[in-house]
């Protein structure tokens, strides 16, 4: 066997304050399909960005050899020129341009600046035949489904004479049939000598099509496992073995002690969601949340685990005033009474609060100050003779600045200038002041440092001790295991399990999180 197609050795990449990758090694042999596995945040995407030149040579340490030669890519164009093409999870097609125009975007078939349409269409047809897509090259991409768009992306990669194809979660948005077709195509390309790296959470897919798998955890290479000896052999590697590699770490985070809630109504169900079903806002065929039922009691912290695309955020947002997707059916009860939460104000009135996973986009008015961000969800309650009592508002903000330890010189500091942890404290303050019965926290510690995480955990515990019901969505299993009384798992929009804290292990959760239909 000849030398490896790709060798990445000792790759270390740091961002201010964070080491994203540390001494990572990856070797891809010619003509193989190689999977990269790991939890969210393990460093998979960063590694691919290093490889494709998004993080240019010089911004990382380590060596990359491609087809035997050392390479140093300045940008994506440089890596593409060598035949390394990455297809992202969110497709990068221009919807109003035709298939042919998309295939040759940035790589136009042109002479002296004028596009040669005959050549473009002829070659596009040939490429479409190769990926097995029966559409005219003139068809606008917007008219295609996601599965077909994915094929256009691959045709686009082939047009660049791809040698190494990288697919990031290629089947995450596809239905079973389209997924199967895509996986077939990947195998065909492999047989034509194109190596392929696939990032996927779907372990059964990995077993089905890959030859070896590299597992990353906390920015380090844990191991590279052989899935099968030869392309035609049966896979020997079990899903359990992959899971063990993905989660096998010691708990290195610490969690505050819980004070149990001892009110008279302790143990009463505060939030009950029944049969909640939601469709995708655009693609009405796709059911994003499928018949989910769950309960949270007063004083209880309940986790929701799931990998990206499992439908956790979609569930939370659609319950919170139908802020996501198209509601199909399901009921919500708060404190034993059924509530209709068709709008966000109705949801807030019913006693719900939702702390978003994306605080910059959905949580904060970055150009306004701490004071006004905290008051926004409870302005009607701050009225005095019909108008907002600014002095009361300010004293509330001052109180939260002290209680939550928000580090800022005054409450008139612009929120956009605060660190991630302090921004998160502002969002939490806003919702705590709205005084809900139920708080839905969506990735409340995403992107913040360890010290601030501990403070946020303390706040969450305090809320539970006061009798609030907390639904805690997180991608970090240790966090859920450390904080929650019970944990639900979701995969592909459905609940796949419910585990009490005492019985929960990372292996068990990961198994339930990777249960998919096929």
């Amino acid at each position: 066997m000849t030398g490896p197609v790709l060798e990445m050795r000792g790759i270390t990449k740091t961002f201010p304050g964070v080491t994203a990758l540390s001494e990572v090694n990856l070797t891809v042999r010619p003509g193989e399909v190689h999977a990269i596995c790991g939890e969210n945040g393990a460093g998979k995407s960063t590694l691919m960005k290093v490889l494709s030149g998004v993080h240019p040579h010089g911004s990382y340490e380590g060596e990359i050899r491609f087809e035997g030669e050392p390479v140093a890519f300045r940008d994506i164009r440089a890596s593409e020129r060598r035949g390394i093409v990455i297809i992202h999870q969110e497709l990068a097609l221009v919807p109003y341009l035709s298939i042919a125009e998309n295939i040759f975007l940035g790589n136009e078939r042109a002479t002296r600046g004028l596009i040669d349409w005959n050549e473009t269409l002829r070659r596009a047809s040939a490429l479409l035949k190769r990926v097995g897509l029966r559409e005219k090259p003139q068809t606008p991409v917007a008219d295609l489904g996601v599965g077909k768009q994915q094929l256009v992306e691959i045709a686009k990669a082939l047009a660049k004479e791809v040698r190494l194809l990288i697919l990031d979660e290629p089947t995450a948005a596809l239905n079973d049939e389209d997924s199967a077709k895509l996986l077939e195509l990947i195998l065909e390309l492999r047989d034509q000598g194109i190596a392929c790296i696939i990032i996927s959470h779907k372990l059964n897919e990995i077993r089905r099509i890959t030859d070896s798998v590299t597992i990353l955890r906390d920015g380090r290479t844990i191991e590279t496992l052989t899935v099968r000896e030869s392309p035609d052999a049966e896979p020997r590697l079990s899903e359990d073995r992959i899971i063990r590699g993905m989660v096998g770490r010691d708990l290195d985070q610490r969690f505050p002690d819980r004070t149990p809630y001892e009110g008279e109504d302790a143990g009463q169900v505060a939030l009950a969601v029944r049969g909640w079903t939601v469709r995708h806002p655009v693609d009405h065929q796709r059911t994003v949340v499928d018949d989910v039922s769950l309960t949270v009691r007063r004083g209880e912290i309940v986790g929701v685990a799931g990998l990206m695309g499992a439908g956790r955020t979609e569930l939370a947002m659609s319950v919170f005033g139908r802020s996501y997707g198209n509601y199909v059916r399901g009921t919500v009860e708060v404190g034993g009474r059924e509530v209709v939460t068709k709008t966000v104000p109705a949801a807030i009135d019913a006693g719900l609060a939702y702390v978003t996973e994306d605080r910059k986009r959905y949580g904060l008015n970055l150009i306004d100050d701490i004071n006004r961000n905290i008051s926004l969800a409870s302005l009607p309650g701050m009225r005095r003779r019909g108008v907002v009592d600014e002095h009361h508002e300010r004293s509330v903000a001052e109180r939260y600045r002290a209680d939550m330890n928000i580090k800022a010189p005054t409450v008139f500091e612009q929120v956009g200038r605060l660190s991630g942890g302090n921004q998160q404290k502002v969002v939490l303050s806003k919702w705590i002041h709205a005084d809900p019965e139920v708080l839905i926290l969506d990735e409340p510690t995403r992107g913040i440092d360890v010290g601030a995480k501990y403070e946020i955990y303390t706040v969450i515990d305090r809320l539970a001790a006061q009798g609030k019901a907390v639904l805690f969505i997180s991608s970090e299993l240790p966090e859920l295991l450390g904080m929650c009384d019970r944990i639900y798992t979701m995969a592909e929009g459905r609940l796949t399990g419910e585990v009490a804290r005492a019985d929960a292990t990372q292996e068990l959760l990961m198994r339930q999180m990777t249960m998919n239909r096929s």
């Binding site: 708990l251 610490r254 969690f255 505050p256 002690d257 919170f320 005033g321 802020s323 709008t343 966000v344 104000p345 949801a347 807030i348 939702y354 978003t356 986009r361 959905y362 949580g363 904060l364 008015n365 970055l366 150009i367 306004d368 006004r372 008051s375 926004l376 969800a377 302005l379 009607p380 009225r383 019909g386 108008v387 907002v388 600014e390 002095h391 009361h392 300010r394 004293s395 001052e398 002290a402 330890n405 580090k407 010189p409 005054t410 008139f412 806003k430 010290g451 501990y454 403070e455 303390t458 295991l481 450390g482």
Partner: protein
Amino acid sequence: MTTTTTPPRSRPHEDPPRPTALTLLLDAVRGNMRQYGMLIALAFIVVLFQIWTDGTLLLPNNVSNLIQQNGYILILAMGMMIVIIAGHIDLSVGSVVAFVGAMSAVMMVRHDMPWVLALVLSLLIGAVAGAWQGFFIAYVGIPSFIVTLAGMLLFRGLTQIVLEGQSIAPFPDGFQNIAKGFIPEAGPYTQYHNPTLLLGLLAVVFLLLREWRDRRRQLAHALDVPPFGLWALKCTAITAAVVAFTLTLASFHGVPVVMLIMCALLITLGYVMRNAVIGRHVYALGGNKAAAKLSGVKDKRVTFLVFVNMGVLAALAGCVYAARLNAGTPQAGLNFELEAIAASFIGGASMSGGVGTVMGAVIGGLVLGVLNNGMSLVGIGTDYQQVIKGLVLLAAVGFDVWNKRRAGK
């Protein structure tokens, strides 16, 4: 599983150093750079033309004139500011001014309607025009630029249809007074206009009372307050400014009616934007629409009301302008939308929404107004006036962009 617990890293809350008068003043200025900057620029422009025109600019009759000349633009600018804060734009206000002026002329001149009734109906027409546009923007989701561009054509066309291409005049005296009148004189003869002195006094009392109440309530909530000396200085400055302005107006015909309308609007709208829930919701919507929606802001209703408000203000400006011209004409209000937009941006609005104050719009409008008036007094032609106003707009916003980028580093 064992989880060990450690106490949170102790981070004692560090008290910032005790603020001094100077740092507080600097903080206040820095916080509202564009507005304070523009206030200073306005003062500079006033002084410049005061010298250049050998003192004509601030003569009592010219000050009255300045207010009456710019009243309708300032009214438009206040509404436009709110529209821009909400993250939108309104290109139709010039045409709405013309349309409402035309309708008022038809009602009063052709149908002999009492002018008060006609005025009320005119404002109602403005509200309907605003609701029409607000509906498409808020509930249908068409961008405001498009809807109001369509409105600009639509209302201009309707104006010409209503007027059949001709001007209609004259208006009843009562109506003309809105733009040209002063509040009536009363009481014994003094050197000054008595009611104006009274209003000035009331204004001083009102402003000082507010300052005093604010300070007391801040103390009651245990908040930091500026030291007494600085506060007293601020009160003195406010008093001096109001007294000087009052005496200037009182030594001519007194307070123009337009000014009374403008002050009422400034106080009400400023208060609503700052203290009413809906005002806060406008800022939140302009700052981050998605976050505002998820915090319970009824985005559609707020957007709709912002445009209804703009419609009413455009109608009011339309009446004032028609009264000033003493005619409803097809060409009324041409380019008014651009003047109002320019005033808003000079006064601190941001293209992406979420920032600005109603007071800022007035300051921006006054900068343009004083420039217009001053340049006319010294005999600069309208050709050069346009060039200079364009440069001022560019410089004001350019300074702000530069200042923000510097602060961001």
